[in-house]
């Protein structure tokens, strides 16, 4: 709960962390350092550089208190939309894990015309973004990640004409924002886009498969010994997840980086069971601040009567010392 949060947030990067994977998803770039944001991508099919393409965006792991949030894009030529429909990709939430793996295999087999890219936002990235001094909320983080991925596709030479997005926040505003950023591309933002547009379903499958694999094989950076991996779904209301969070709560440090510190579930547990930590940007308005100051002067009063610590009130310490926060002591 300390130095971890002080780190600068890892904003999505566009240049680095891109790895071309020939066959199946290779998660090693993320797994070597799972504290940052990482991009994985398939090879760009040649046909996507020459023909008009459509692109779908979806995310997996927005709600859980554990593990990363994964953003996925999937793109293919507009002319291949029908073929994609026939492969029966569907909203990843309606599928079992095996079905998803199966469909991802199918997408991989169609790599001559289907491409994908993923941005894995580590739980640490999410925590540090949301808890930094100037708050960077989950919606802004989601939007920026989606924008980064679309830009990646454009930078790779994919001839985008249509983009389909599942909504984050109000659909109209988001659509307007994206349209402005990518003039010349028709942007469609819809709730439940993952069940309406096959290309969004495909993106959701890529994202969900990546998240499942990362969560299953999470490499704990912390020295926790044999970690109990039975943490359930990772959603705050899952009793297994709650039990796991209770078990792995360290009174001083809170949680391993696997946990999103910015989730109220984690925060409530840390506040009730952990050591209290004060930051100088803690919100402390009016009454509370006054209360604290009262507390302090009360304490000073008590220690004075106990240890004879009555500093001469007329003596004013020279500013050389006050400016440097230096003071004399009368006891240790």
């Amino acid at each position: 709960m300390c130095d971890v949060i002080l780190e600068a947030p890892n904003r999505p990067q566009t240049e680095n962390n891109t790895k071309f994977i020939p066959a199946v998803m290779d998660l090693s770039p993320f797994e070597t350092d799972n504290s940052v944001s990482c991009r994985l991508a398939s090879q760009i099919p040649e046909v996507c550089r020459t023909e008009d393409c459509c692109l779908g965006i979806d995310e997996a792991g927005r709600g859980p208190v554990l593990g990363p949030m994964v953003y996925g894009i999937c793109f293919c030529p507009v002319s291949k939309k029908e073929e994609l429909k026939e492969s029966k990709v569907a909203d990843s939430k309606t599928l079992t894990e095996a079905e998803r793996e199966n469909l991802f295999q199918k997408l991989d087999e169609a790599k001559s015309y289907i491409g994908w890219a993923l941005q894995i936002l580590s739980p640490n990235t999410i925590s540090t973004s949301m808890l930094q001094r100037t708050k960077y909320n989950l919606n802004a983080l989601s939007h920026d990640t989606a924008i980064g991925l679309v830009q990646y596709a454009l930078d790779s030479g994919v001839q985008l004409t249509e983009v389909f997005v599942d909504t984050v926040g109000p659909a109209e505003k988001y659509e307007e924002k994206l349209s402005k950023l990518f003039p010349g591309i028709k942007v469609t933002v819809r709730p439940k886009a993952d069940s309406l547009f096959p290309i969004v379903s495909a993106a959701s499958i890529c994202a969900k498969v990546a998240r499942d694999r990362v969560v299953k094989g999470w490499n704990f950076a912390e020295d926790l010994g044999e970690v109990d991996t039975d943490y359930g779904s990772g959603y705050p209301n899952d009793p297994k997840t709650k039990a796991w969070l209770l078990k792995y709560l360290d009174p001083v440090f809170g949680y391993p980086q696997f946990v999103r510190f910015s989730w109220s579930t984690a925060q409530t547990l840390m506040e009730s069971k952990g050591v209290t930590v004060h930051w100088d940007d803690d919100e402390e308005v009016g009454e509370k601040a006054a209360q604290r100051q009262n507390n302090r002067s009360m304490l000073a009063y008590f220690s004075a009567s106990a240890g004879g610590n009555n500093q001469n009130p007329t003596h004013q310490t020279h500013r050389f010392f006050t400016e440097r926060r230096l003071k004399s002591l009368d006891t240790l």
């Binding site: 925060q267 004060h278 500093q311 050389f320 230096l326 004399s328 002591l329 009368d330 006891t331």
Partner: protein
Amino acid sequence: MATKKKRTPHVNNDSWVVIAADSAIHIQKHDSDPAFVRLRNPATDVASLYMLSSGDAQLFEVKAFEEDFHSWFVGQTVQRDGRLLFLTPMDPLYLILPYLIKSGREGKFQPVDQVVMDEEFPACSRLLSCTRSLASLHHIAEEKEVGSLKFHRYSEEKTMNWLKKKVERTVTALKARSISVGEGVKSTTYVRMKSESDYCEEDYLRYAHGLISEYLSEDLSKALLNHLQLPELTSPKETEPPSKKRKLSDKPVEAGDDYTKFNSADFARKPPKKMTAAQKSLAKVDKTGMKTMSSFFSPKVKAEK
């Protein structure tokens, strides 16, 4: 997010993070350990913490850096207070001085070990064991030797000269360290664009006097100010401009007062809305044939032809 944090009172630690010179913690053979001692602070006249090195050879003052929201990670433990203690060498004469002044009022020469005594702070006699103490007593006292015994009597003149030297040496140190001594500067991290030469000598002297006064009684501090021929500042706070807060907004800046009304022709003719009783009675006076006051001061109007 709701913050339901309760601040627990500070608990005294049994360990501290200290920065000290090697000489402060070095233990000489067969001698005692360095020890924290409570002594009478010459400026506040109450207890402050000091340290005497092994064998009482050297005196150190203890200063604590303390700021909100700091903690230490020490090895595998967390220390709640982010306090950093500094042990810095200090001239023991500053602590001996008040005792000499007190006995000096009797005007008698006395052995110092009978002078430097304090029921409240018995450790004060150990100050005389410091290497520098006895050898430098002549800076603040007259000495007389009778046989093998030495007697001392406080001398204000000597003390003032000694303190003046201290101030001058502090000025040198302040300049060498580029410490900003100007009146307006409050932040130590603020990088000044002005060069050192922009401070006048008096700024340095006052600053150094203030620093030395941290180790002197109020009376002595005032006497030193006289000796340095620095006039006492009456109220430095009045020289500060009043703090003005302006609300930030996106709107264009507008003048607070409308001065254009003074330009309009009818401004001058409008009688003031509220007049005092005296003004009212004056206004009722018959002014026919009287010249206006201003006509006496304006350039002479050419006589009509």
